[in-house]
């Protein structure tokens, strides 16, 4: 495994804490995002932010799933989120450069997902000798209209709020200190 020295026993707990942090901040992030996008997103979020039409990695694991399966699913999820959040952050820097708090939260969330990916890589390699996981990313928002960019971001974040909660719940028994 790469950087074997860093892949220590505390990584499992770190991963849980990272998920917990994302779960704790996801809703505030989504709310702030809607607020910063203005109308109609503020009032029509349910309609405009419905994630049904976008790609989002399937997270079909539960608390009884195997830990390896959970780890892989999470890796796919957060790899997707890391990329999507990167796109959203880039779009918001363009669309709402004055929304400092939103941008700060997007940055922090993105960084956390980066760290989470690093930790999951460590766990997959260390525990399951998994060195490679197929990951699918979402559609790029480049070249889309501002509305579409906002909407795409809104749809991703809404789904993110739903999934991160599930992930936190699933991950809790698997990553609790043994």
């Amino acid at each position: 495994c790469p950087s074997h020295g860093l892949c220590r026993s505390n990584v499992q707990e770190q991963t849980r804490r990272q998920v917990a942090v994302l779960n704790a901040t996801a809703q505030e992030l989504f709310s702030l995002y809607l607020k910063c996008q203005g109308e109609p997103f503020s009032s029509e979020s349910d309609k405009l932010c419905n994630p049904a039409g976008i790609f989002f990695p399937a997270f079909r694991v539960n608390r009884t799933s195997e830990r390896k399966e959970v780890m892989v699913a999470m890796y796919k999820l957060f790899a997707f989120l890391n990329a999507s959040l990167g796109n959203i952050t880039r779009d918001q820097e363009e669309l709402n450069p004055m929304a400092k708090e939103l941008l700060e939260r997007l940055h922090n969330t993105t960084k956390t997902t980066r760290g989470l990916i690093s930790n999951l890589t460590c766990l997959l390699c260390k525990n399951y000798n998994i060195f490679q996981v197929d990951v699918r990313y979402g559609d790029s928002s480049k070249g889309k209209s501002a509305f579409k960019k906002k909407q795409q971001g809104c749809q991703v974040l809404r789904k993110y709020v739903q999934v991160i909660g599930q992930a936190a719940r699933v991950l809790l028994p698997h990553l609790s200190p043994s």
Partner: protein, 898 residues
């Protein structure tokens, strides 16, 4: 150098080019000549010389490798300097530079050590990580440090320090990922890396301190609730806390037990606080598991607990004033306000209750007081005074004070003091009886004001307390009273200083008495303000101007001292020094001079001298007295009495005129040296017959045509100097002295026309020798007569006062009395001129006062009635008188000059 096509080409070069060398290593440089220069200039490697900064390198370090290459070797690069040049001696003498290089000597970087990092929270979502390390030794080279960090599969951009080489701050950090951090140092001589630090940044966080801290009082008076907000969400990091608090005004912090605040929270109720007390709170936090750093303390917030009833009664004491009437006391009750932690609120009033214990039937008196003292007038007796403090919540327990009839119970023992920094410790030994508590009184002793009493109560189980507020260098009188359950003990006092200093001035000494060999010095005690401590002794220092100083130590209770064994008639300088335990101070100099003679010495000299003088005088007087005859003979020779002369017996019936004239001729005037005074009263003239007066008329005529001189009153005695008669002055031809001259007085009865003639004694001077028999008869009989006559004269003179009521006499006397000397002269002249129109000349003026006096006496005697007495005393007839020559009291017929 070779010129080719306008360009200058070097004839050689040095390798390595501009090397960077490690300090202390060896180094070899090669100078390689171009082949073209060999043929052109006949230059070979053997001609190469090496220089370091114009200093020739020893040829031992050279080596000619071939005809074009020369090397130089340095075993230690510390000897190197820049530039290092390769030179050649052209034509064997001319030195030309071929090439030069710069040499840089330094050290490779050391491995950075002691790398440590701290993540500082700067805002709710922003964290920065600052790492510091020890860069190691100075390398003398440009050395770059960079802080590097990475995740397992990701390396982040390096952090390059700015302006420093031992710290760098990373702004992009991520929690919950093990991060490898290390420092890399690089320079021309190498690269060094620190040991890696693998850490999850969340474990090295120094969070921001809690914000919006607030304090609120709870229901209970001993609880305050503290609330705050955390900057970090629990999802990121759970926190534990430290809470500290203190009473406002106090500097000592108290801390809530850490285990009580070891879990995440945003509020905490602090218990066990004092009622009605203002507290200051502050809080800090850190990661719950203890990893990382404590935040700074938050801003301080204050809160006040609610009131509670006073926890104890006020300490109470009293001063009993019995000065007005011993049977009727004025009791000054005084108590101390409760300390805030005892009052537990605002004391609204005090309730004083006085119970007369000697008479239970008397009603209990209650007083509500808002101040901390109260004055009562009580009959002498025993009283129980209780005091209660009351606030809005309730009343304190009562404080009890017994006012006894007398302090007959035992006092404390062994009262002592000991300074302790800025406090004065007072200790005592408890009496044998059980003591409830002690009252300690103290006051600042002052010479100018009364002792203002301060007091304090100590529990009965202690045997010493610290007195606060005691000023250094001040004298305090401290008294301790034991209070028993049934009364009060006697007080025991002690004087004490918190700190002593030397006196602020020295005593002023002066002399009370100075003798020949001793001096009594006196001085006043220094006032208590001047003492600054206990005066242990006085020191007297005295010396003469050129002598050694003598030191005498005197007991401090004395104010007088006698210096002895001093040198007489010597100036001494004395000064006095007062000493405390901490030093001395000398007073002003005082000088005095010892006396030349001791007490009684002068008397011992003067008294004998005076006595001797008096003795001599006395002896002299006695001598004079014994030798009076001899003295009289020399000074006042005896004038023979012609009446007793044998001559008188020769011719007792010789006419007076003849005799008179013959005598007048025989003894010219001016030969007298002494005067005899005989008074003749003018009114006796009436008793004279015309016959009797004829001779006088003849005499008048003769005197008016002759050098008649009126004699003054003459006389001599042992003590009086002989006075020259007025007749002496105009008889300069007379060469006979007094001893050879027999003096006579001639009585001249003279009148001017119808005026009553005055009887005047005219001094007759005769050089006629007297017979021895005459002198002897004078000695035996004439003397007695003359004495009798003088006595008669003096009686008349003295009788003037008795007869001064006679007006004419009085008036004339007054004229003389008030006349000055000039007047007297005129007066006398007038009188004389009445006798004779002939000017009297100088002789009269010389004795004007005497003449005037005689005239006065003569005039005053005109109306006197003593004349008959005089005549009765001398009832002799004229016929019987010829025997007498000396002037005698004029009788009828008078005496006739013989």
């Amino acid at each position: 150098f070779l010129a080719s096509g306008g360009l200058v080409q070097s004839c050689g070069h040095i390798i390595p080019e501009s090397p960077v060398l490690a300090l202390g290593s060896n180094f070899t440089a090669l100078c390689i000549l171009n082949e073209s220069c060999l043929d052109f200039g006949n230059i070979y490697a053997s001609q190469i010389i090496w220089k370091i900064k114009n200093r020739l390198v020893p040829k031992e370090q050279y080596r000619e490798i071939n005809r074009t290459v020369s090397s130089v070797t340095f075993n230690d690069t510390s000897a190197l300097a820049t530039p290092l040049t390769c030179n050649i001696l052209a034509d064997g003498q001319i030195e030309q530079n071929i090439y030069g290089i710069t040499v840089t000597v330094g050290l490779p970087p050391e491995k950075p050590k002691n790398l440590s990092c701290v993540v500082h929270q700067v805002s709710r979502f922003t964290y920065i990580m600052t790492c510091t390390w020890n860069p190691g030794r100075h390398t003398f080279l440009d050395t770059q440090f960079r802080l590097r960090y990475s995740w397992p599969e990701e390396i982040f951009p390096d952090c390059i320090p700015k302006d420093v080489n031992n710290s760098c701050t990373i702004t992009d950090i991520q929690f919950f990922v093990n991060t490898e951090i290390w420092v890399e140092a690089t320079n021309a001589l190498g690269k060094a890396e620190s040991d890696p630090l693998v850490v999850d940044p969340i474990d090295i966080v120094k969070p921001l301190s809690p914000q919006n801290v607030s304090v609120s009082s709870g229901i209970l008076p001993t609880i305050l609730k503290l609330s705050w907000e955390n900057w970090i969400s629990d999802a990121v990091m759970t926190l534990k806390f430290n809470i500290r608090y203190r009473i406002v005004g106090d500097t000592n912090w108290m801390e809530v037990p850490s285990e009580d605040t070891a879990s995440p929270r945003t509020s905490f109720s602090v218990q066990g606080l004092r009622p009605y007390t203002e507290y200051v709170f502050s809080i800090r936090c850190m990661k719950e598991d203890g990893a990382g750093y404590w935040s700074d303390w938050s801003e301080e917030k204050t809160g006040i607990t609610t009131e509670d009833q006073p926890s104890k009664g006020p300490p109470i004491w009293r001063i009993i004033d019995t000065s007005h009437s011993p049977a009727f006391w004025i009791v000054h009750l005084m108590w101390k306000a409760l300390k805030p932690f005892e009052a537990n609120g605002v004391i609204l009033q005090y309730e004083v209750t006085v119970r007369d214990k000697s008479s239970l039937s008397r009603p209990v008196k209650k007083y509500n007081v808002t101040s901390t003292n109260y004055t009562l007038q009580l009959p002498e007796g025993t009283y129980e005074v209780t005091l209660i403090a009351r606030n809005s919540v309730g009343a304190s327990p009562p404080s009890l004070l017994l006012i006894p009839a007398s302090n007959s119970k035992p006092p404390v023992k062994n009262l002592r003091t000991l300074p302790k920094h800025d406090k004065l410790w007072v200790g005592w030994t408890a009496p044998n009886s059980y003591v409830l508590k002690y009252v300690i009184e103290w006051c600042l002793v002052s010479s100018s004001s009364d002792c203002i009493i301060e007091w304090q109560i100590a529990p009965g189980d202690v045997q010493g307390i610290d007195l606060k507020g005691i000023k250094p260098f001040k004298c305090y009188l401290i008294t301790v009273y034991p209070l028993y359950a049934d009364g009060q003990g006697s007080g025991l006092s002690v004087k004490a200083y918190l700190k002593q200093d030397r006196p602020s001035k020295g005593p002023t000494v002066q002399t009370k008495k100075v003798g020949k060999a001793e001096a009594v010095l006196t001085w006043n005690h220094l006032t208590v303000e001047e003492q600054n401590g206990f005066i242990r002794n006085y020191t007297i220092l005295y010396k003469t101007i050129d002598g050694n100083e003598t030191v005498v130590t005197v007991d401090p209770s004395k104010t007088e001292y006698t210096l002895s064994s001093l040198t007489s008639d010597t100036l001494y300088t004395v000064r006095m020094m007062a000493s405390t335990d901490n030093g001395s101070r000398t007073g002003p100099d005082f000088t005095f001079t010892t006396q030349k003679f001791g007490k009684g010495e002068i008397e011992a000299i003067v008294v004998p001298v005076c006595l001797a003088f008096l003795l001599i005088v006395l002896l002299g007087v006695l001598f004079c007295f014994n030798k009076r005859d001899l003295i009289k003979k020399h000074i006042w020779p005896i004038v023979p009495d012609p009446s007793k002369s044998n001559i008188a017996q020769w011719s007792p019936q010789v006419p007076a005129k003849h005799n008179f004239n013959s005598k007048d001729q025989m003894y010219p005037e001016g030969s007298f040296t002494d005067v005899s005074v005989v008074e003749i009263e003018a009114d006796d003239k009436k008793s004279f017959s015309e016959q009797d007066l004829k001779p006088f008329d003849l005499l008048k005529k003769e005197k008016s045509t002759s050098e008649g001189h009126s004699s003054g009153i003459g006389g001599s005695s042992c003590m009086s100097s002989p006075r020259q008669s007025v007749s002496d002055s105009d008889e300069g031809e007379t060469t006979q002295n007094t001893s050879s001259t027999v003096q006579y007085s001639t009585v001249v009865l003279n009148g001017y026309r119808d005026q009553t003639p005055l009887q005047v004694f005219s001094r007759s001077e005769s050089t006629q020798p007297l017979l021895d028999s005459e002198e002897r008869s004078e000695d035996h009989s004439g003397g007695a007569d003359s004495t009798a006559q003088r006595q008669q004269y003096f009686r008349q003179n003295g009788g003037q006062e008795e007869t001064s009521a006679d007006r004419p006499c009085f008036e004339r006397t007054m004229q003389i009395t008030h006349a000055n000397e000039g007047d007297l002269v005129g007066f006398v002249q007038l009188q004389i001129s009445g006798q004779s129109s002939q000017p009297l000349g100088l002789g009269m003026e010389k004795n004007t006062q005497e003449a005037a006096l005689s005239s006065v006496l003569q005039t005053c005697s005109e109306g006197q009635t003593v004349r008959p007495e005089t005549m009765e005393e001398n009832p002799l007839s004229v016929d019987e008188m010829p025997k007498s020559y000396l002037p005698q009291t004029v009788r009828q017929g008078g005496y006739m000059p013989q």
